[in-house]
């Protein structure tokens, strides 16, 4: 995974609370493989009118915020469904960082697993940043090492789980880390087999490897 250290890019204001993962990627667009990409369906029902024409009032359809790599939103961003496609859609659209006062836990974990930074900022700071971005289109600099956002000569500190910060800074993939613990995993499984045999190999009578 590509490490995230520092980013300077346009930031789009999305002054909505609870932008849930159903809005980020509506359920009807989730049949694709990862390779086919999800960016064209990001926030589909906000970006497009019911007739399929782009909603020209929506922030991501305005020329000023074309190419934005940072999105600033209100609280509870990414709530709801565990669908990682919500993160695929953001990443494929070009976003590398989301700033909000709070995030859905599963969304945030999915984001980090795809190199997308979920940056927690206090509500009043988010409101100030939203105001700034609405008044003046300005690039922001996201510094993950220092946990700071710089915008128009103002610094906004942000928070992220320290484990996730290190993971993003290094571009680590959990599978690579886990591989080094293969022996411990086997030992744990063996010990549990004796301690809690009832959790092992559940039998479902008649349920075979051929789908019923």
């Amino acid at each position: 995974m590509k490490p995230f250290t520092r980013l300077t890019a346009a930031a789009a204001p999305l002054p909505l609370a609870s932008v849930d993962t159903d809005q980020l990627i509506p359920a009807r667009f989730m049949k694709r493989s990862r390779a086919q990409g999800y960016g064209d369906h990001l926030l589909y029902d906000l970006r497009f009118n019911a007739n399929g024409a782009p909603n020209l009032d929506f922030v991501l359809n305005t020329p000023r915020f074309a190419g934005a790599q940072v999105l600033v939103a209100r609280r509870n961003f990414g709530a709801g469904s565990s669908r990682e496609a919500a993160v695929y859609a953001l990443v494929d659209f070009g976003f590398r960082c989301i700033i909000a006062p709070s995030f859905g836990d599963i969304f945030a974990a999915n984001a980090v697993n795809n190199g997308l930074l979920p940056a927690h900022m206090p509500e009043d700071a988010v409101e100030a940043l939203l105001g700034l971005l609405t008044e003046t289109a300005c690039d922001v600099t996201v510094d993950l090492d220092a946990c700071l956002i710089r915008a128009a000569n103002t610094e906004f500190p942000f928070a992220i789980d320290p484990v996730w910060r290190v993971k993003l800074l290094n571009g680590w993939d959990d599978l690579d880390l886990t591989a080094s613990y293969a022996d411990q995993i086997v030992q744990h499984a063996d010990a549990q087999r004796k301690l809690r045999p009832w959790l092992q190999t559940p039998t479902l009578d008649g349920l075979t490897l051929r789908p019923e």
Binding site: G80, A109, D174, Y181, A189, L204, L209
Partner: protein, 472 residues
């Protein structure tokens, strides 16, 4: 420090038994006892192929068809080929990787969070994951159970483990006793309205108190199911005699002496009486009224006797949300909730589709006619059989509702069961998000009994008025 008390809480006892590696930075590598995989698991299977990997523990991995399951027919040649393709793909993926799959036409097919407990795959003290946020449901039996994303699904498939930071501990205590006409769904929505849709973020919620102990296992499943709607990744209830009685004899549960041995351990999992929590919430169960959502987040919930809120004069962000929600929902702030007319109803989903949910709705519908159309989708094929044995299907059909097959159905609309744009649905589901039941659809969440009441009157209705002389 909460850490000093860690071993004394139910959640921490179960967590500790699953730690493979405790890293110094606070991340724990956890061993997974049950990995449940629905049609959305194709990203994980594709990752296996790309890495030329196999499933680490196919014996602990179970496939279920639910998200795309058609509810009007099981003839896949008769449905949208893209939807049929998702089901074929899942069954083929499971077969290729040696995973037992409860497929579309299985006698035990159903919604994964109904099937798991029903089959006894869900056990106290287990760690259960699934690529679905409502995996929190399984905590009702004293398991740690939470939803994961596709990257985590692939990680579990390949290693049977997952890196997690231990969530903080919240206890939600429901004291007192629920009034007639009030149930687990009302408890959950009352809590979410109180703490907010992000109030549980970063926490594991333990539910306790007399009103939780008095709930059936099915009610506890509903309560834990909705934990994610408060932002908490999981909810958990201490196993008690009801849990043991529920599990005894289920197909995948231990049998005979092994069961009794396991049950001894399960009954010992309860938190110690002096356990401490990072956050405590207490709700008086006596005071809970039937509750419905009016807006576009599960926190937008008020008692049926209330009104649609007015935008706050002091909180600009909240005021903006209330205006956005009222506009999307086509409601006027200040109007009475009971004046909201509905176009259709839906009874189903992993939240409220178990036999007790169907009984509660049928008790209101018995001998009455629905004045709006609606669907009833039982949580599993086995629930469907039981409901038919009890004659509940006749009550729904005689009331004018459609009695259909099991699946996620109109909760998420992936199978094509959708609410049309601009239409308003009284629904027993878990999410009233914009577009959740279809683009432009308007969802009001409530209990099965409340949905039945709305079906009979055509508007949101206090079910207590329709219960006189009937069993609740």
């Amino acid at each position: 420090m909460a850490q000093q008390h860690a071993a004394k809480r139910l959640f921490d006892k179960v967590w500790a038994a699953h730690i493979v590696v405790a890293r110094e930075d606070g991340a724990d590598l956890l061993y997974v006892d049950r990995h449940l995989v629905h049609e959305g698991g194709f990203h994980g299977f594709n990752a296996l192929r790309a890495k030329k990997a196999r499933i680490s523990r196919p014996d602990l991995t179970f496939g279920v068809v639910d998200h795309y399951a058609p509810t009007r027919t099981h003839d896949l040649t008769a449905v949208d080929p893209a939807i049929a393709g998702m089901i074929h793909q899942h069954e083929a993926n499971c077969a290729e990787f040696g995973v037992r799959c409860i497929g579309l036409t299985s006698a035990r097919q159903g919604i994964v969070h109904v099937v798991g407990p029903e089959q006894g795959l869900t056990l106290p003290g287990a760690l259960i994951v699934c690529g679905d946020s409502h995996t929190s449901t399984h905590g009702a039996l004293g398991a740690i159970a939470f939803g994961i994303g596709a990257s985590e699904v692939a990680h579990v498939m390949i290693t049977q483990t997952l890196w997690q930071k231990r969530p903080r501990a919240m206890r939600v205590t429901f004291d007192g006793q629920l009034a007639p006409g009030v149930g687990a769904k009302d408890m959950a929505l009352t809590m979410i309205a109180a703490i907010g849709a992000d109030g549980g973020q970063g926490f594991a919620i333990e539910y306790s108190g007399s009103a939780v102990r008095d709930l059936s296992v099915e009610g506890r499943l509903t309560l834990c199911n909705m934990s994610i709607e408060s932002g908490a990744r999981c909810g958990i209830v201490a196993p008690d005699q009801r849990t043991i009685d529920y599990l005894r004899g289920r197909p995948a549960a231990p049998q005979g002496d092994m069961f009794d041995h396991a049950a001894m351990e399960w009954l010992g999992l309860a938190s110690d009486s002096d356990a401490e929590y990072d956050h405590e919430v207490t709700i008086n169960g006596d005071q809970i009224a039937p509750i419905v959502t009016w807006g576009i987040s599960p926190e937008d919930a008020v008692p049926v006797t209330a009104t649609v809120p007015l935008p706050s004069a002091t909180d600009a962000a909240r005021a903006a949300h209330v205006r956005e929600a009222a506009e999307y929902m086509g409601l006027t702030p200040g109007m009475k909730i009971s004046d909201i007319r509905v176009d259709q109803v839906f009874i189903g989903s992993c939240t409220n589709s178990r036999i007790e949910d169907l009984r509660a709705a049928a008790a209101i519908l018995l001998g009455r006619r629905a004045v709006v159309p609606g669907m009833v989708s039982p949580g599993s094929a086995l629930v469907r059989v039981q409901a038919e044995q009890e004659g509940l299907d006749r009550i729904f059909i005689d009331a004018g509702l459609d009695w259909v097959a099991s699946g996620c159905s109109m909760c998420v609309g992936m199978n094509g069961d959708l609410v049309p744009a601009g239409r308003r649905c009284a629904s027993t589901t878990n999410r009233n998000f914009k577009g959740r039941q279809g683009p432009g659809a308007r969802t009001h969440l409530m209990s099965p009994a409340m949905v039945a009441a709305a079906a009979v009157t055509g508007h949101i209705t206090d079910v207590r008025a329709l219960m006189k002389g009937r069993q609740s």
